[in-house]
């Protein structure tokens, strides 16, 4: 039962990763692409981490998975912000 839940969570997370990647490839400009990528991948990562945490053998492992989730989410949000801010600055300079 636990196996099934873990597996379905990981698969569900993978679906979000694929959706995010499709968005990255198909959306028209950099802001839409970032939007698709950061949000869909953030959710996908959380689902995969949750699935893996269900299969963890000790509390230490769960703790490490939570840490990985936290820092990857933090880094990806910061990167998304930096890329978007940089692109906006470049757009303004291009128009000026």
């Amino acid at each position: 039962m636990l196996d099934l839940m873990a597996a379905s969570l990981v698969v569900f997370g993978a679906v979000f990763f694929i959706a995010g990647t499709v968005g990255l490839l198909r959306f028209p400009d950099i802001y839409c692409r970032l939007h698709a990528l950061t949000k869909a991948d953030g959710l996908g990562l959380a689902l995969v981490a949750l699935g893996m945490a269900l299969k963890a053998e000790s509390f230490g492992e769960v703790f490490r998975i939570v840490l990985i989730w936290f820092f990857v989410a933090l880094a990806s949000a910061t990167c998304g912000h930096l890329i978007a801010a940089y692109a906006r600055q470049a757009d303004r300079e291009g128009k000026a």
């Binding site: 933090l74 910061t78 912000h81 930096l82 940089y86 692109a87 470049a90």
Partner: protein, 326 residues
């Protein structure tokens, strides 16, 4: 039924080769660097699949993380020198400067020789032999540590590891000889969100780096992986301007560079007393000596890699300021 991992392995192998080709043929330097970073991450995964977590950690931390940062910093510098820093923008491209054909052919020849050498070594090796696992396992009790890779790197084959540390030292000496003075290229304008990110992650990176070093005696990890992670602290500090190199810090930095090499070589020579050969640690002190060497080598690696990222010796160019240079 075939092994389900076989599909993953084949995909991974194909992706690594495809990324290598894409990196070499990319027409934009920034794209080439990003592709190189992805290539490094997938190589790290491949090392995991080959049951070599130590190499995977090193590849991810040094080969991908620190090298990626060094390459991006270099690109920033190149754009500054070429005067295209303001123009390039997010959508622009930095075309690859044409390389002379002779350089390409010389590189190809050397790479070919290395590949040939590896191929000969691979074909000469006995297929499916026992390897050195049994030898290492036999000698483990005398090594002072509980992890085979660390025992090989810091006890049985210390000489090789010492040379790796010396290579880093030589690199930073060369960089400091080539470029002096304080950087004139404007630092990228990083927002408050970045500052918050740095503040949250810095303490965590220090903990992770120290953990990797400490874990090295019984599990994958060690001086190079820990040092590379700690170097990320230096890179974050430099990028967020929380630390600005000053000419008066040079003495301390120099001590940091040579600390690891000096202590490593010093211990190796000091143990020669009492009828031992170089690098033959007395078994009862092996663990202490290895931890001492690893700890100080970690500090040196971290300081050296961070200094390489900064990329130049912080010297105040007084002659230039006074106008003699014009």
């Amino acid at each position: 039924m075939t092994d389900p991992f076989l599909i993953l392995d084949l995909l991974l192998a194909g992706a690594v080769i495809a990324l290598a080709i894409a990196t070499l043929t990319a027409r934009d330097l920034f794209a080439a660097i990003v592709l190189f970073i992805v290539l490094g991450l997938l190589s790290a995964l491949a090392w995991v699949r080959l049951s070599a977590p130590d190499v995977a950690l090193a590849e991810a931390a040094i080969g991908t993380g620190v090298t990626g940062a060094l390459l991006l910093k270099t690109l920033h510098h190149l754009r500054y020198v070429a005067g295209t820093l303001g123009e390039q923008a997010a959508h622009g491209v930095t075309p690859v400067t044409p390389v002379p054909m002779s350089v390409i052919w010389a590189n190809a020849a050397f790479c070919g020789l290395i590949t040939l050498g590896l191929a000969i070594a691979f074909l000469d090796a006995p297929l499916g032999g026992p390897g050195f696992d049994a030898l290492v396992a036999d000698a483990m009790p005398a090594s002072g540590v509980d992890h085979g890779v660390t025992a090989v790197l810091l006890n049985f084959r210390s000489y090789d590891t010492l040379m790796e540390v010396v290579v880093l030292l030589a690199a930073v000496i060369a960089v400091w000889q080539i470029e002096r003075g304080l950087s004139e290229a404007p630092a990228p304008d990083l927002s408050v969100i970045w500052q918050g990110f740095a503040r949250l992650t810095l303490p965590a990176i220090v903990v992770v780096g120290t953990y990797l070093l400490w874990k090295g005696s019984e599990a994958p990890g060690g001086a190079f992986q820990g040092g590379a992670v700690l170097a990320a602290v230096g890179i974050l500090l430099l990028l967020s301007r929380l630390y600005v190199p000053h000419p008066s810090h040079r003495a301390l930095a120099r001590w940091g560079f040579v600390l690891g090499t000096g202590v490593f070589a010093g211990v190796a020579l000091l143990v020669t007393g009492g009828g031992r050969v170089t690098f033959e640690y007395p078994p009862e002190h092996a663990k202490t000596l290895i931890l001492l060497i690893e700890g100080l080598v970690t500090v040196s690696i971290a300081v050296t890699l961070a200094a390489l990222f900064h990329g130049r010796e912080p010297v105040a160019l007084r002659a230039k300021e006074a106008g003699h240079d014009a």
